[in-house]
Amino acid sequence: MKSKLVSLKEAVRDVIKDGDRVVIGAGLEHAIPFAVTFELIRQGKRNLDLIAPISDASADMLIGAGCASSVTGAWVGNVSGGLGHNYRRAMEQSIPHPLKVNDFSNFSLAMALMAGAYGMPFVPVRSLLGSDITQSNPDHRLLQNPLSDESDPVVLVKPLLPDVAVFSVPRSDIFGNAHHWGSLGVTQEAGLAARKVILLADEIVDTSIISSDPNRVLFPGFKVVAVVHEPAGQYPSPLTGCWRRDNAFFNDYHQHSRQRDGYLSWLDEWVLSLPDHASLRAKLGGRLSDLRIKGQAFSAPANFASA
């Protein structure tokens, strides 16, 4: 098998195209591959459709930088600060340009990705009943349950089929076989539904490490087209077993992004003036190493021996 190891620059350049439907992290607030968010901004990608239930402040950053023409999600903001200022400016004032939002709830988005993952033509969701989400997103179709003789409304949600999904993982081999742990959000569904997957691996390990625990794999390695070895690629979000969250970074972003000018200077300092993620790590220095998880609370071993 051929190694899929490439640089962050190559992965973003070669795999993500303008206009793609992309999942940049599927863990809500966990394991969001911000290194790809930053690199998409540096490479000036355009007209992306950002698919994610939440992905913390990643969408807000991409919207402010003009990379996105639409958001397919349940929540866009900054978990630390609440509102997403760039999202508001785009929606309310078309700054830097107009944005379309395809409204979902967290569960309906999970089910839409599940429908994509498992080849379902649609998925019936009851948890959208009563919500105006079915009004603002006409893709969601409110219908009578065809199996019921009594009044029984259901919402049919269409499958989502991302072009590319990007995930931060604690460890992967060079072929895209990877381990995930902690809360998973919609990672499995997004990985199975996507045409192509990019992994940002905190650590590159031998295949034997991954195959020692095949239950910790969420989707097959053959879905993965690029593996990037990028420690703290999820910074400033947390990654179970590896990194804590940098709450101050999110607060700082929230304050600076309140005004367009402040956002642009934040962007210059933290993204555009840095050539790559290694430069961000270097700039952070001790602030980053303080976030490294140094304790050990290991999973009890599971035996897979066959005899």
């Binding site: 979902f104 989400i133 999110f250």
Partner: protein, 254 residues
Amino acid sequence: MAAAFSTQELMIIASAREIQDGEVVFVGMRLPITAFGVARLTHAPNAVGLFECGILRNEPAKDMLYTMSDPPNQQDAAWCTGTAQVMGLLQGGQVDAGFIGGAEIDRFGNINTSYIGGHRQMKTKLPGSGGAADIAAMSKRLLAIMNHEPHRLVRRVGYVTSPGGLDGGTSRRKAGLAWGGTAAVITDRAILKPHGEEGELHLFSVHPGHTADEIKAHTGWELKDHPLLAPTPEPSALEMDALHAIDKDGFWRS
């Protein structure tokens, strides 16, 4: 002996009282997760907490959380899984109660966290549902936490992100929601609960230091008295001890 307490501490304790023993609760972040901890240490030692990122916890996390996905919420969790699994329990009718917040709530308990002014004539874009629509639709009881201001407690929200009683009466059932609805709205001034055939929110209890008149003046509809209207009971020493055992740094004190 009642200890001194902040408004937020009172809201946490009032929220804790809404959790019953053995219940499965979507607790979310901020006040509710602390309320869950207080409930477990007092009257509900077997309540369990769900988080939409894909976590079930029997006991609250041991360290400070900025988000529900932070490492302390992962360590020693009872279950780490996906959003579909935990929220599927909700849609399957297996979740007793859920807490959500909001920017606007109306007299039937509908909550807007999406578009102030409605999606066609939006004045302000809010972040959106997250899991709130699902939790409002599918919990057996919905518990809302709000700041009590006239522009937040409105006659009718411009956009229903998270359904309460919709247009009141049977309209929630007619929309296909077989169970659930608003059980209580806990504000910084009072607790409101639905009452009557229409299920309109009524003033159920008045927090210490506030008056019914002041509360009604801060409510965007003509708020009526619940027949059981009473002062909100002050936190007991037991409740305050439980809260202090969790909130060691006094985050909710001020």
